[in-house]
């Protein structure tokens, strides 16, 4: 019997990520990792792309990981775990090691996933390795100091898309990576957020038990890059969900399903105004960018509703 998704039950097992890691106070990434790993009863083996989560959890000679963990490089968390998984399958098949229902999971940030690691991820899921790839998406290269990635929202100030006198922040919309992964036709793809912890945990369980490659895109607040208080992480993450900037859904064997529908779809502004990275958008001359972003959020939301049979 799987452990019930009740915090008191889940807390009975020691954390798989120890304290003493050096992620910033209020980081969303370790919340995601803790919640997801708490939801999995089976043994796990992890790979981690270069990025905040990787560097902050394993500053030699310390490691915060209580489970097997490997970091190789930035763009290859998926190909690295594919090698680990292939080794496991080969050696189990040959009777060299026992079969133990190991769950293989790769963690990467949006830089390591949307951008530099996209090819390795696409290849690894196409090959059908049994693993879950988790993108903790904080919408920029936070580890190197907040540079824009293809996950950065339109209008956001980053250090390589600064809000300048002529160009007011990032000029492009976020790449819809979750849809790209769904287009691979793999058994399970989902978008989630830690503010909806039960939804995140349920999806995690489905993902690691889907019998093939799975992908989850999980929104991860970075208070340094997003510019908000360290205690506002959960609230602002939930605003991204309630404004439908970050809808929660899953694609199971090709069937799209909305897993959360906000009672009232809030204007995207409600999410933007809580973050310093969008401050410049509230100047009158940049107002049109908020409108553009709202239009795009609406367009994608409508499309998602249609795909999910809700429109």
């Amino acid at each position: 019997m799987a452990t019930k998704l009740l915090p008191k039950e889940l807390a009975k097992r020691p954390d798989r990520l120890s304290p003493g890691h050096r992620l910033c106070a209020g980081c969303g990434a370790s919340i995601i990792v803790r919640q997801m790993l708490a939801a999995i009863d089976e043994p796990v083996v992890l790979s981690n792309a270069t990025g905040c989560l990787e560097v902050a959890t394993t500053i030699y000679p310390y490691t915060a990981w209580r489970v097997p963990w490997i970091h190789n490089a930035f763009e290859n968390a998926a190909s690295t775990i594919s090698g680990v998984e292939a080794a496991y399958r080969s050696m189990v098949r040959q009777g060299k090691i026992p079969e133990q229902d190991v769950k293989f999971i790769a963690f990467g940030g949006d830089g390591g996933t949307y951008d530099i690691g996209l090819q390795a991820l696409s290849g690894a899921v196409e090959r059908g390795h049994q693993f879950l790839y988790v993108c903790y998406d904080n919408g920029a290269y936070m580890n190197t100091g907040i540079q824009r990635s293809s996950a950065t929202p339109l209008g956001a100030h980053t250090t390589t898309s600064p809000a300048g006198k002529v160009i007011p922040g990032k000029q492009q919309f976020r790449k819809d990576l979750t849809a790209i992964m769904a287009a691979h036709g793999i058994p399970y793809v989902a978008q989630a957020a830690p503010s909806q912890w039960r939804d995140l945990m349920k999806k995690t369980r489905k993902a690691v038990n889907c019998g093939g490659p799975a992908f989850m895109n999980v929104l991860s607040s970075c208070n340094r890059g997003w510019r908000h208080g360290t205690d506002e992480t959960v609230e602002i993450t939930q605003l991204a969900v309630d404004t439908c900037y970050w809808p929660l859904y899953e694609v199971e064997e090709g069937v799209w399903r909305l897993t959360y529908k906000p009672r009232e779809k809030l204007p995207v502004e409600e999410w933007l105004k809580r973050q310093g990275r969008f401050r410049h958008l509230f100047r009158p001359e940049n107002r049109h960018l908020i409108d553009r972003l709202q239009e795009e959020v609406d367009r994608r939301w409508e499309r998602l509703l249609r795909l999910c049979g809700e429109a």
Binding site: K12, S18, G28, I31, T57, T58, W65, G229, V234
Partner: protein, 117 residues
């Protein structure tokens, strides 16, 4: 801080053999704000445990009780206080701007410098 070892005395390849030894590294020194636990108010819902980015909520799993904070490692982000449903209730009931160190809260955030036992 551990004493620095020579190349003969460490595992090859950068491997770390002691899983979770980061607990030896005190991140509690980063704290500007300290969470203070109001045991009487706590409903032991474990929301703080669910959302703590630093695995620093101490719980008694057998008796299913929240028992306090791992101040060796807590970085004082204040997420525990922000997700606490008791706090939310108190704040709503107070019908006023409530200071984050208000004694009515289940988890209060107190400036480290001003904290007194």
């Amino acid at each position: 801080m551990a004493e620095l070892k020579g190349w003969r005395d460490i595992p090859i390849g950068g491997m770390i053999l002691e899983a979770g030894n980061a607990t030896e590294y005190p991140t509690g020194t980063w704290r500007a704000f300290r969470p203070v636990f109001g045991e009487a108010e706590c409903i032991h819902c474990f929301q703080c445990w669910l959302f703590c980015p630093d695995s620093s909520i101490l719980v008694d799993p057998e008796n299913e009780k929240m028992v306090g904070f791992d101040l060796e490692h807590c970085k004082g982000c204040g997420i525990c206080a922000s997700v606490c449903p008791v706090n939310a209730k108190v704040i709503k009931k107070a019908d006023e701007e409530l200071a984050q160190d208000d004694p009515r809260l289940c988890i209060r955030m107190v400036e480290e410098g001003k904290f007194q036992e």
